[in-house]
């Protein structure tokens, strides 16, 4: 198996902040998870979100993570985590196995994002997906001014060695969820700014697409 980071694919570094609380954007996701839910976190990294969910929302959590290091850290935290790949392993989970399936900052690193999304909606009654927004103004500006593939603090890879092979903008992702064979219904959408905080709910899509650094979406089967 080739080593490829998943949750940390966007270069987010550690998932915990000083003080033991998870990153702001992970807390935004956690707030979307009902108490006591059965949760699968695909690309769960070092397990910080799962542990936070177990602690703060009493969920019964499971994870999938590609990297050996991540799996070891998860197991040491007492989490049930399988070393595996979202592209190949989701097929083995039965329908409706979980209340919520989370895919945080991982979709852009999968080989078949659409298939992965369909699996999320099959395995979970709800899917929470967060994607880095390639339409973010800093990225647009870099591309416009330098004429080169953008490299930012959160997306620190060169084009030739990035694990992120399927970038999209917030708007692109929303369009994907509308495809008939995906069969998703958007229950909630939140755009996060560079600080990981939720932006104004009243802002129009174009605003999120330009100023949101990532989008967080709650989807359910149509």
């Amino acid at each position: 198996m080739t080593e490829r980071p998943t949750t940390t694919a966007a270069g987010q570094g550690t998932l915990f902040q000083a003080g033991g609380e998870p990153r702001v954007d992970l807390r935004v996701i956690a707030d979307l998870v009902p108490r006591g839910a059965r949760v699968l976190d695909v690309g769960c990294g070092d397990g910080a979100l799962l542990q936070w969910l177990a602690r703060s929302r009493a969920v019964d959590g499971r994870g999938i993570e590609l990297s050996q290091k991540g799996v070891n850290e998860c197991v040491a935290r007492g989490l049930s985590v399988i070393q595996g790949d979202a592209d190949t392993d989701l097929v083995y989970y039965p329908d409706d196995a979980f209340d919520v399936v989370i895919l945080s900052q991982t979709l852009q690193a999968t080989g078949q994002p659409k298939e992965v999304l369909k699996h999320l909606l099959r395995i979970g009654r709800r899917a929470i997906v967060s994607v880095p927004n390639f339409g973010y103004w800093r990225i647009r500006l870099q591309f416009l001014l330098r004429g080169r593939m953008p490299i930012t603090e959160d997306l620190p890879y060169s084009w030739y060695d990035t694990p992120n092979i399927h970038f999209c903008t917030i708007r692109d992702f929303v369009e994907l969820t509308k495809e008939p064979d995906v069969g998703a219904e958007m229950e909630k959408a939140v755009a996060l700014n560079a600080g990981g905080q939720a932006m104004s709910l009243n802002a129009p899509w174009w605003f999120w697409n330009l100023f949101g650094e990532q989008g967080v979406f709650v989807l359910k089967r149509r």
Binding site: V71, G78, G84
Partner: protein, 370 residues
């Protein structure tokens, strides 16, 4: 230590026969706590035995899992009570083909009914009952030991709090059965085998058993590890002899492995334990659906495979993981990158120790043992 069960306490076998009187030999380490909640059963591999953490009485070598078991190690003998028993059909004190058949007063030989992994686990359960332990905190083992772990979890789910099968699978593959058959045929082709009655004849099929061990030993390593260890280097000479002496170091190594094995292992036992592995197929016992074997289980699983293991490749472990997922079980899985092949579970693999430590420590917290 040995527990003897009389003719009034026969052990029922999967073959339909029953065995009685019978006995099981075991070793323990550490101390059982007051509520008997800290017991760990360690299951040994094909040619291993109960001497998991003490000097072996025959070979004088240290315990086969001294890297895993001991004070401060992943299985901490200061915290846990560790039990390891010799398998049914074995040759280190548990009833096997070299034991005396009460019906004839002579060694069983091939008159011992064929035993299965299920029978081995049933005999271990009898031992655990005898020790007064209701629920095992952890059942753990590699290779054939891993098969026993899975069997424990499938047959006695309420008695297994946590389970760690390493480098194992829920069935023995066709290729693995093929290798075992080569070994058995080597033993049975040895004229000293005498149709299995060599103990009566005062002989021992040493050559056949050594060949069986040599063939098996190759499957425990990987091409890469053999190459880095031996390459094509010559043994004690600087040119080829153009004969059939052990010119190459690998030949000499295998001959040594074969010869040292016959000093500690019984040839008929080898037939029985390899057969037990061959017959193992948990899914077959559950209508072909492996997930059914684990339906509703509350056991916490940690499954580990090794990238260069071609005896139990990662796919075998993944099949178990997928079945456990389908059954909604709590399961962790890691594939450890190593070039040391199947035997990696017996060697110094820090990644393995790290994941075992994490799993056992967190299970202990969940069990209230921390």
């Amino acid at each position: 230590m040995v527990v003897r069960f009389g003719a009034d306490q026969p052990l029922p076998l999967d073959s339909g026969h029953s065995l009685g009187p019978w006995q099981i030999a075991y070793q323990t380490y550490g101390r059982l706590n007051a509520d008997k909640s800290n017991a760990i059963l360690v299951c040994h591999a094909l040619t291993g035995d109960q001497h998991v953490h003490n000097i072996h009485p025959v070979t004088g070598k240290s315990g086969w899992w001294d890297l895993v078991i001991g004070p401060g190690l992943p299985i901490d003998t200061d915290r846990y009570f560790v039990i390891c028993a010799n398998v049914l059909g074995g040759c280190m004190g548990t009833t096997g083909p070299a034991s005396v058949n009460p019906a004839t007063g002579k060694p069983y030989g091939l008159d011992l009914p064929v035993v299965t992994i299920g029978d081995m686990v049933r005999s271990q359960a009898a031992l655990i009952d005898h020790l007064g332990i209701d629920t095992l905190f952890l059942v753990m083992g590699g290779s054939m030991g891993g098969m026993q772990v899975l069997q424990w979890a499938a047959a006695y789910p309420e008695r297994v709090f946590a389970a760690a099968p390493i480098a194992a699978g829920a069935r023995h593959s066709s290729q693995n059965i093929a290798f075992h058959e080569v070994g058995r045929q080597a033993i049975m082709a040895d004229p000293d085998w005498h149709g299995g009655r060599y103990l009566d004849a005062g002989t021992s099929p040493r050559k056949g058993l050594a060949v069986a061990r040599m063939a098996a030993h190759i499957t425990y390593m990987s091409e890469a590890s053999l190459h880095s260890k031996f390459g094509r280097r010559l043994q004690g000479r600087d040119r080829l002899t153009f004969g059939f002496d052990a010119d190459f170091q690998i030949e000499s190594y295998l001959r040594h492995q074969g010869l040292s094995f016959v000093d500690r292992f019984d040839a008929n036992s080898y037939l029985y334990v390899t057969r037990a592995m061959d017959y193992f197929d948990i899914a077959a016992e559950h209508g072909g659906k492996l997930a059914e074997a684990f339906r509703g289980t509350r056991t916490r699983f940690c499954i580990v495979s090794f990238t260069s293991d071609w005896l139990f490749p990662t796919a075998e472990s993944r099949a178990v993981v997928h079945a456990l997922n389908a059954a909604g079980a709590s399961v962790s899985f890691a594939e450890i990158v190593t070039d040391r092949g199947h035997d990696a579970f017996l060697l110094d693999e820090p990644e393995l120790f790290g994941i075992l430590r994490g799993f056992i420590d967190s299970a202990a917290r969940a069990r209230g043992l921390a």
